[in-house]
Amino acid sequence: MLNERAFKAVGRPLPRKEDLRLITGKGRFTDDFNFPGQVWAAMVRSPHPHARIVAIDSEGARAMPGVLGVYTGADCERDGLKPIPHNPVPSTNFDVKLTGRGGTKVFIGSHMLLPADKSRHVGEAVAMVVAETRDQAYAAAEAVDVTYDVLPWVADTAAAAEPDAPRLWDEIPDNILVDSSFGDVEGTEASFARAAHVVTMRSHVGRVTGVPLEPRAAVGHYDTATGRYTLYAGSGGAVRQKRELAEVLNEDQQNLRLLSFDVGGNFGTRNRAYVEFGLVLYASRKLGRPVKFRAERSESFLTDYQGRDLVTEVSLAIDADGKFLAMRASNLSNVGSRCVSLSPLSKGSGLITGSYDIPFATLRSRAVYSNTMPTQAYRSSGRPEVTFAIERLIDKAARELGFDRLDLRRRNLVRPQQMPYVNAVGSSYDSGEYEANMDRLLALADWQGMEARRAEAKSRGKILGFGFANYVESSIGTPKERADVIVRPDGVEVVIGTQPAGQGHETSFAQVTADLLGVPFENVTITLGDTDVVSAGGGTHSGRSMRHASTVLALASEDLIAKGQALAAHVLGVPLDSVVFEDGVFRVADRNTFLSWFDLARRSDDEGLPAQLRGGLKVRRDSEMHTPVFPNGACACEIEVDPETGGLDIVRYSTVDDVGRCINPLIVHGQTHGGIAQGVGQALWEQCVIDPGSGQPTSGSFMDYGMPRFDNMPSFKTQIVEVLSPTNPFGVKAGGEGGTTPAPAVIMSAVEDALSEFGPIDFEMPATALKIWSHIQSGRARLRSSNAA
């Protein structure tokens, strides 16, 4: 197996290979690409949450300057375009199995590039205008006259699941597309029956959006001479998008080339194809010119795939000593107007018991359509939601039953000697030291000094709140990955099908390759993102990339070393078994002769090589790995509330994250930092608000959608723990999502702690200044009236 002592690059905080181009303005983002003759697309977007499209009059628009074409859903149907095959039901061997009611097939409403029947959410594209310039296209889009028959609508998650809710799809009797149950009903019921205590909580982890800072963009070109399509579009994986868009266009996959180079943030939002990607290709075929689309930020707020939106009801059965006996959970996920991904529901379902040894559990998982933008896996898909549920429920149990909240957790954590631990819904946790994580975290967060800090804050008129959460998450993702490893006289090239959006694959994959082959890190380059070069690959999501890449690279390097040995034996004219590979060179035993990789590469095209050694010093290796891993950790924060305004500052934030093998600590810490900010953002500021009266989204810009900023985030204390996973050669788990997963729970835990004198908090995230102030007011009023009585 791996010789850790030989690691020269793995584990070191090496600065990134990608940075030089990005800090000098030479990045290659989608909108940086332009083509001769390029024209622009703009979308006509529905102003209604739900409306039948009666007629589209494009005459006025067509007469406007520069307009080249106006296309509708009817045109798409006429031209034989197919729906986007999102394939939303997770299907690895270890994903929980989601079905429709009574085990039926999940109904997936068709996602055409432009709908011909009706619009199902505000902002849905119902027509496309193409014009010579972007300004002309946008101006003409406003002039397209769409006649709508406005229909009743529903946006709220719980309301959409009601039997009499306005229905989005005629094919099913209501809006519920998934209704599955898991777990041991009998065992759970028996445990609840004998429990000393039962604690219950209902919560809605609301809708947020990913806000990658690069607005989504695409430029498509159909070459009439070759019949081939080219699309530049930043995404979470060009290979997948090529496959899906080929289906949409009803074309052979080899007639499409997708390029995705630098991607300005993803966080899940870009993992599924957008209608505009198919539309620019379609328009380019119709017009014979390259067609570009670039979203305004306001369009991104409205129509980037969104995240979260889960209503959860959880109950915990606890015995008199505080031991957890069983859990009941019911999760309802709002998929929006079309089902793009069920990953959030599925991921969360396998983790409802969190870091705790709870012998029995039952879970009902449901998904519902609504007149909102579709949701997608977003920054730790599904895990923050269920972590929120279990961790907030434990806080509640501790408060109501008089346990210490840290103690109650300790009493129930899964212990290292139980690993691998199969939880009550069947997920097999691979490894981890959950209680040790808690201890490390409490030391890092200076838990001992907290009460003194609380008193000091009080002297300044501030209320300090301490929040805590444990977490376990899962990294599964698409099971297949492929790597080509090519040795040339001047370096090693790796071609692989992941798609980073800032995660530093060009660096960390090079570290792994360098150590596997024993070559200098500087000599390894990673090629990504062009489907004419990258033939297969699973893309980047679910924390899969480092684990899958290191695994396929480990396998490929074994093949490559075998090939190198054979080549060396031939070149040196010695028997194969006398060639040893060590320290990055091929030696002959008892002789002072060796060949480096690069020496061999120079000889790999020699004439007269036997057939099996010809074709260069390179290998292609596929790997398929279904087994998930379970990164885990603990997190604490301290906030200071200003009781006069309800405003708060985060003053300390600490995390301990078991990521398995850490390839590059600089990168992994950075991933954690960013993950924290996104989780904290949801807890305190971020929310896609829909006006309950009109169904209109009202947080459509940075003016209304509060973001983590320099001055509302603290510096973090992050500690990496490396309990190697036994499931893959390097022992990798995953990094980054661990920053997000516990963050909403830990912030709300701190808010509740700070406000404890005013009663348990009864509001949902985000914990805005207005909500906190209102809670303080009502708490004071209650205290006054009870004092008076």
Binding site: D19, L22, G25, D32, E296, R297, I667, I676, F710
Partner: protein, 162 residues
């Protein structure tokens, strides 16, 4: 149409553009300087920050015509040949970027902050003064570290200039 002339990264340029052309798109589309990014339409994200006559501005909220006659510096003009600006260097050393989309604006904002801030930069001041730049990847932690480190590295040069 209007003729716009300015100095960009030390070289004089002159182009005929539509009057409504924003400086950011003039740089990106007329001059091909695609390092300046546009991330929002409400003057908040800061991806488009460049220097105009020595001041940091959001180039998405300024017409190219308003920069007529000005000296403009973009991310492409910051390094001297192969020698990176200390802020660029610090961003790499401290891993102050991930996807890199906000990075040009972030670096242009930071260089201007270090150049023009009267007095000592502290973490608190950096966080306050940089609030006009959004980053979605880093949680800001490493950017703050990089700016403070670059300020330290640049201090002797600043003193000499004073």
């Amino acid at each position: 149409m209007t003729t716009v002339s300015m100095t960009v990264n030390g070289s004089p340029v002159s182009r005929d553009v539509e009057d409504n052309t924003l400086l950011a798109f003039f740089l990106r589309e007329s001059l091909g300087l695609t390092g300046t990014h546009v991330g929002c339409d409400t003057t908040q994200c800061g991806c488009c920050v460049v220097h105009v006559d020595g001041r940091s501005v959001k180039s998405c909220t300024m017409l190219a015509a308003q920069a007529n006659g000005c000296a403009v510096t973009t991310i492409e003009g910051l390094a001297t040949g192969d020698k990176l600006h200390p802020v660029q260097e610090a961003f790499r050393t401290y891993h102050a970027l991930q996807c890199g989309f906000c990075t040009p604006g972030m670096i242009m904002a930071a260089t201007n902050l270090i150049d023009t801030y009267q007095g000592e930069l502290t973490e608190e001041i950096v966080r306050e003064e940089m609030e006009g730049n959004l980053c979605r990847c880093t949680g800001y932690h490493n950017i703050v570290k990089a700016i403070l480190a670059a300020a330290d590295a640049m201090r002797p040069a600043r003193r000499a200039a004073e």
